[in-house]
Symmetry: C2
Subunit: 502 residues, 2 copies
């Protein structure tokens, strides 16, 4: 036994498949050097490609400052790697005898203060560490694909594993941005893969029985429970579904279903002891938060995730996109948008947007972020352009208005859940662009939150960067401009950034 | 049989628990009137409260224009509801005899062109429609909690159900923003609950066997597979894990594990027919997209979801937050931030930010959105303030800089994955604020994307809205300002929005 495990600057990898490549990318990104060992020399090109691919996603994970990237070296010599690494991660095929032999060999070359971890999906650490030198420095550390993006890593010690090893591993994985989950019992499949495997085998049964296709079964998760699972597990979700008495009520209500043939997996007997464990467990997870409070948190992330997915037009995001297209079309039809300036009322600016301040719009100072004010002004301008006849087909064809300059004054803070609206005044229209003025206000008291002045220019893919506005669109904009001509010019327009001190 | 089902303006609800309340909120939000029927008069207050609660989340789902909200009425008279509704949704307790009786009664009062749907989690439509009048207009339409946010609804017809009924139901649920999933076979638990139930029973076994707590089991999903399931199901995810040959390779590699005790659920025999079905199904899902292409999509949403969750400090978002705090602290230590203007180099502006343009920053015109430029300038200003000694504790205590005015010029478009950086020049410092000028450039060619001029003011919760800058912070800002004094004044500063046409 050694006093403590060494601090890690160089990660050694045993095996370089999809999992090894993921480990390499994550460690390099957070500043570790990596030595990858594989008996197949052709894997050097492969792992360099995998790291480069992963890096395009990793580079976007955070804009926090990063240390310089680590250096990747490749070797076919296991021993050379084991002598130089400060921490070794094994990722070779899922065969007990093979893993046991390779781990034992690595342990003969690696000093005893070097942690050796296995990425095994389901083999047990006591079985793997049997033939090792200094087996106390061995553990299972099971990651998930893509390793470079998913934070979960299950840590499982075997009979010989020391607490010091588990602590050193915990610190290392945390350093490279992961969430170590300590698994207290050695069971085949650890925790996560047991749950995934139950779901997977039920899928195989249903496809085998001809009940559904793989696509239908994926949809059955992606548009429903999958959205919840992104941030709350089944237990906490069922605790919420139970209403004010939570999990206890839920088990009373759905307990009988455990006898029904809802899956080919038989449930355990729902004893009082099991009920107590489920209730105590979920109470601990709730940590004093009420069902209502947890529901709000759940609803917040469900809304925000759907908005993110909309941007990628995938799953629930596609549903939301289709809904919005229908709503915009209905609204345009109701406003008589096709007839031109149907919504322009002489004597008042257009109401171009109505929304609620979303929790994710709040910055670390607790107020609606400046960038979100600009986003809202952009949406208001879009609403105006839509009214003037610009539609999705125009955009796809490269005909659209683009912001070239803007000036924003922040008058008062807005908070999460404030109802807000934007009015827009057309200050000018010329051959190539429009000059807009927006006021963002709170609905409850009419308070002015921010004003924005913008110049947008029209561009057409066929005519180059800046082009004359389409005639029909121009006519509608002129109509709105004429309706706005009598309005008072806003005091905030035509200003530059004022700095009293200079 | 009637020619066609009627168009829906009024939704009738049978039963008003959590599910009934969710249906009411969703339908009202998208402009339907709702008549809720429940034999317990006290449920009127309950459902009105549930609708109000749901509305706070629903209001944020989309900023697209909505029709006027519908009106909610409540009655204890099932018959009155059934005579007036255009579409009836049943949500009473999960008991076959009770549901059968109530559905039969509703069917005696509702005209034959009114669809009647049951929200049952697992009962089969042929069993439920047995005693109904006009049973052809009945189907199961199984939603998920919270019904007002999750788009999934499983549609299952019974032996008597007409195709016309399924089509009318499909149109109705789509109209209120949902994703109808047609289930082609009547099986207990339909599709989704079979998969959820397999996972749930495995959880109960593990808690029962003392292997893990409910909290540990939830973590085992939330930090790993749960993030993936938000937009891709197990089948497509495993197709990706199989490398270039997809599902076929995956089944070859992990097929043997189906015999291992990774769950208490036994798998079906992995016959050639089953393998072919799994491969054909996932090929259809991939729809011609390569593994690499699907991986990029998966990585994009995994990054974006983690960033959303960070804002709520939940699950993988908490992990990301903790990582960023560590990175900021390390970076400040490396820059010698505690010694003041350690990073200010006379003769050049500060490099305050380096990032990659994220796909979700791209607007519908295909370029980095204006609001994202402003967000990046805000992050750059934050980096400067952090360097000047403002930290998280200051913010929690209400001491921070807030943007009051800004002017942005967009010089050139930026595209997804462009590497960008920001330099910041301190134009002025006075007792209450700073005057900053940022340049956002592309790294590959140094091209100027946008410039931003900002005034920030300092505020302290204890001293009111605007306060003198903390002395130590002021000294550091003055130091940076002095280092920047020799720099040329930027041509874009001091300008107002220019509009040639007015």
């Amino acid at each position: 036994m050694v006093e403590s495990m060494r601090s890690v600057r160089t990660l050694g990898l045993l095996g370089t498949g999809v999992i090894g490549g993921g480990w390499a990318a994550r460690a390099l990104h957070f500043g570790m050097d990596v030595i990858a060992a594989d008996v197949r020399p052709e894997m050097e090109d492969w792992i360099r490609g995998a790291v480069a691919n992963a890096e395009t996603a990793l580079a976007r994970l955070t804009s926090a400052p990063l240390p310089p990237k680590g250096t990747l070296t490749f070797t076919t010599d296991l021993e050379a790697m084991a002598r130089r690494a400060d921490f070794i991660q094994e990722n070779i095929p899922e065969q007990l005898e093979l893993k046991r032999r390779v781990l034992a060999e690595a342990s003969r070359h690696a000093p005893a203060d070097v942690v050796i971890a296995s990425s095994t999906s389901g083999l047990m650490p006591s079985d793997l560490q049997r033939d090792m030198h200094s087996p106390q420095r061995f553990l299972v550390a099971h990651p998930f694909n893509p390793v470079y993006l998913l934070p979960l890593v299950e840590l499982v010690g075997g009979r010989e594993t020391s607490l010091r090893t588990l602590e050193a591993a915990h610190a290392f994985y945390t350093y490279i941005g992961m969430h170590p989950l300590r698994v207290r019992s050695e069971v085949p499949g650890h925790l996560t893969d047991r749950l995934q495997e139950a779901l997977w085998r039920e899928i195989l049964h249903m496809v085998n029985d001809g009940v559904a296709t793989t696509g239908e079964l994926d949809e059955s998760i992606v548009y429903g429970p999958g959205l919840r699972w992104a941030a709350m597990g089944t237990n906490l979700i069922y605790h919420l579904a139970g209403g004010e008495t939570g999990m206890r009520h839920m088990l009373r209500q759905f307990g009988p279903c455990l006898k029904w043939p809802w899956t080919k997996l038989e449930a355990p007997e729902l004893t009082e002891q099991l009920i107590d464990r489920m209730v105590e467990g979920t109470q601990a997870q709730a940590a004093g938060r009420s069902i209502r409070e947890l529901e709000r948190l759940r609803d917040d992330y469900l809304v925000a995730i759907q908005q993110v997915l909309r941007q990628f037009d995938i799953g629930a995001g596609s549903t939301l996109r289709a809904l919005e297209e229908r709503l915009y079309a209905d609204s345009a039809a109701a406003l008589g948008g096709a007839d031109g300036d149907g919504a322009a009322v002489p004597g008042q600016p257009l109401k171009t947007l109505q929304a609620e301040v979303r929790p994710e719009w709040i910055d670390h100072n607790g107020r609606m972020a400046e960038s979100r004010c600009v986003q809202v002004f952009g949406d208001a301008a879009d609403a105006l352009f839509r009214l003037a006849g610009i539609n999705g087909a125009d955009r796809s064809a490269g005909r659209a208005f683009f912001a070239v300059e803007s000036h924003v004054i922040h008058h008062a803070p807005a908070s999460a859940l404030d109802s807000i609206f934007v009015t827009t005044q057309v200050l000018g229209v010329d051959d190539n662009g429009v000059h807009l003025f927006h006021s963002l206000k709170r609905r409850s008291d009419g308070r002015l939150i921010a004003t924005g002045e913008q110049r947008y220019e029209y561009a057409s893919a066929s005519e180059g960067a800046c082009a004359p506005i389409d005639t029909a669109v121009r006519a509608r904009l002129d109509g709105i401009r004429a309706a706005h001509a009598k309005l008072r010019a806003p005091a905030q327009a035509g200003r530059h950034v004022v700095f009293p001190g200079t």
